[in-house]
């Protein structure tokens, strides 16, 4: 555009500190400090490693949920999907173990990944092609996955073959360079998630769809495709969490992953991702998962509040986080 007007140079202002973005990390630091003051056992290396490892499952699934939520959808089925994937994996490994031995674990993991991706795809297609509200669609699949694991286990449990326990054990209990393997996997998942979300075209489109689906549509972005892929990413994350989870208890039961969807959504939301879409914070999500696990741990360690109230305290936290978010903004 040529015009007679003079150009006003854009002044590159220094980035302000964004308190809204820092919130989850400050909260995490506060919880840790409180833990140190309240209980001497809290800050020990063993306990910390234990807490961080236990938080890995929620953190990994929540990374996937960050994609779904930032595209303005919701997945309530993650907890029962996790149980379902766990059940399928164990059944597969048990079947193959007599013939191929410990290699069955690798095959089981691949099957788990495929099943997770398929479950995610199913959720995605119901929401996007079937045009059903994500809340209702995934409420439906949540019931389906939960019923399937209950049916597969006949209401009891599906134990992993004894011969696989030892070779599979390190995936949860082992470490590389002192870092517990589930923690390392969480880091990798979060790094890849952050790369996809912040550094790829898909991530940009995901934000655009969550921020304003009309603008995305008018810009030639397929809202259907973007949202379906988000659900598939969610399914993959559930499968990865399942792979880490199996050696911990060595079995799948009808209560595996029960109510995890609430913890996952809580972690995402207290991490600073907007439920209305368009703003996603992967590292905030990871911090959110850590906060939840630390508070539960602190309540178990100290005697001030009954550990039966863990869920209540987590409920209070999500409400406080939402209020804080509004006031900081």
């Amino acid at each position: 555009m040529t015009s007679a007007t003079t150009h006003i140079a854009i002044i590159k202002a220094p980035r302000r500190i964004r308190w809204a973005a820092m919130g989850p990390f400050i909260a995490l630091a506060v919880v840790m400090l409180a833990g140190m003051v309240l209980n001497s056992n809290f800050a020990t290396g063993t306990n910390m490693a234990n807490v961080v490892t236990r938080s890995a499952f929620i953190a990994i699934i929540a990374v996937g949920a960050t994609f779904v939520i930032s595209s303005r959808c919701l997945d309530l089925s993650v907890g029962s999907m996790m149980a379902f994937v766990t059940g399928i994996m164990i059944l597969t490994m048990n079947r193959l173990e007599p013939s191929i031995g410990a290699n069955a674990i690798f095959v089981g993991a691949v099957v788990g990944i495929l099943v997770g991706a398929t479950c995610g795809l199913l959720n995605g297609l119901i929401v996007t092609v079937g045009k059903i509200e994500p809340f209702i669609a995934t409420l439906g699949t949540m019931g389906i996955f939960r019923a399937l694991i209950t049916w597969m286990s006949d209401g009891g449990s599906i134990p992993m073959a004894r011969a696989l326990r030892e070779p599979y054990r390190p995936v949860y209990f082992g470490d590389v360079l002192g870092i517990p393997i589930p923690v390392a996997i969480t880091l990798i998942v979060a790094l890849v998630g952050a790369f996809i979300l912040y550094r790829t075209k898909y991530g940009r489109r995901c934000m655009a769809v969550g921020s304003n689906a009309d603008v995305a549509r008018f810009s030639g972005i397929s809202v259907t495709k973007v949202r379906t892929i988000a659900f598939v990413i969610q399914g993959l994350c559930v499968a990865i969490a399942a792979i880490c989870y199996i050696p911990r208890l060595g079995a799948a039961t009808p209560t595996t992953g029960q109510l995890w969807e609430l913890q996952v959504i809580t972690a995402v939301v207290i991490g600073g991702t907007l439920l209305r879409g368009g703003k996603a914070r992967i590292w905030g999500t990871v911090a959110g998962a850590l906060i939840l696990e630390m508070i539960a741990n602190l309540m178990v360690l100290s005697n001030m509040v009954s550990e039966y109230l863990v869920a209540a305290v987590q409920g209070v936290i999500i409400i406080l986080a939402m209020l804080a978010h509004r006031f900081i903004k």
């Binding site: 555009m1 940009r204 934000m207 655009a208 009309d214 008018f218 810009s219």
Partner: protein, 544 residues
Amino acid sequence: MNAVGALPLSATIALAVEARTAAALAAEGLTKAYGPVTVLSDVTLDIRPGEVHAVIGENGAGKSTLMKLLAGYVSPTAGHLLMRGQPIAFPDAAAAEAAGVVLVHQEILLAPDLTVAENLFLGRELSRGILIDDRTMDQRTAEVLASIGAHCHPRDHVGDLPLAQRQLVQIGRALLQPRKVVIFDEPTAVLANDEVAALLEVVRGLRAQGVAVLYISHRLDEVEALANRVTVLRDGKMIGTWPAADLSQRRMAELMVGRQLDVLYPPKRSQPSGTPLLAVEQLSVDHGAVQASLTVRRGEVLGIGGMIGSGRTELFEGLMGLRPAEATRVELAGTAVEHRSVKDWRELGLVYLTEDRKGKGLLLDEPLAPNLTLQALDRIHPRLALNRDKEAAALDKAVRDYDIRARSVHLNAGQLSGGNQQKLLLAKVMMTDPCVVIIDEPTRGIDIGNKSQIYDFIDHLVRSNKACIVISSELPELVGLADRVLVMRGGRIAAELTGDQITEHNVVYAATSGNAYETDQQDHITINKVGDQNDKRDDAYRDH
């Protein structure tokens, strides 16, 4: 612009004072300002029992504001209202209704899942003791429906009714209690021709009952058929009030426009337009356009005129694949186009810039760079990963080329002024280097400096052998920019104007008048009428 046949001043005042004491509702010096922006200034008019008083004006002339002031939805900044000569103020719409003044909204504000009777009595249900008195309400509803010629049953669900019946239900709701003044806000905007005729009968019936009717419309044929007196608004100012018998439709159009072109516009291009670039045959869009055909040539600015709601935006959203649409044939640069989606069009070199800058154009909560590159991500980033440097470079270039002014590049798009948002949006669609650019309302809500820049941009675009389609509600813009203008009415292309035919009043005339152009022999301007689909509505009116 002077009033036609104005009386001497003293006589005018005497008449006006007398009229106002008899008026069911009168306004004196009514003014409304929002902050520094005056949207309506110094309007004085009266509505008498047993008359239809029409208010006409272009989009943005202040019609809606006037009617909201009269019905108590907003309070005036200055001036006051009178009923039967007594000053009165309406703190809210409920107070106006209590005084017998009611506004029938243009949009249909009914709960689709409730029945007709439930809607009519919503918020004022009748009861016997603690029980809802359905029987009485159904009875009253049936009476009201019969009085306005509605053919639905009180127990019908509103969502199942055709649009015209819903409109009548809405009118029924307004007329549930006896009214002194009924204000209609473009009641026929959503109606088909035969439905319009029925609605006009309802209005005539009210007038016969001695109700004072204020009728707001931009369909001049209706106004001519219905009104006793006509008040013209333009740019928030009152131009005057005339007996309807003294005004032809053409004169009304002139009074509505009454503006002069200024020097905002680049000089028209002298060389003739080149080969056809985009050709569309018989494009029909659901709830929008009907069998619209158009061609735009290289080096040409094609203007699309017509009132809001005439199907302009729907036509082009349909062309872009953003709405369900069908066409017999679409060609770009001589090649038939099979798949129409924003993405496919982008590859072929056609882009559409939406009129809804904030709702469909920009991500207001995102910074400038992601907004700029959203439509061209594949072009800027051939690989999977985003290249931040290229993105920054693209933003730098766009800021210079399009003169986008922002305090900081870290601002979100929503923090820019309207004009800068529009230039950012323009830069965004131009990222893919298109050969045909469709701009819907290029300068809505932006200041004059930015307007002139956008006009210059359009001029440069077509001078570089590309083509531009400009959809605009601003008449001077169409006249100042376009080499050719298509005027839409009721989803169809009603007229094509070229060369000297492109005048503001011809556009208004074609956009509003159902009546035949042929009868207007005194005017030397001929308008090439496209198709004869409009004759149906004309007949509907001639019947009355």
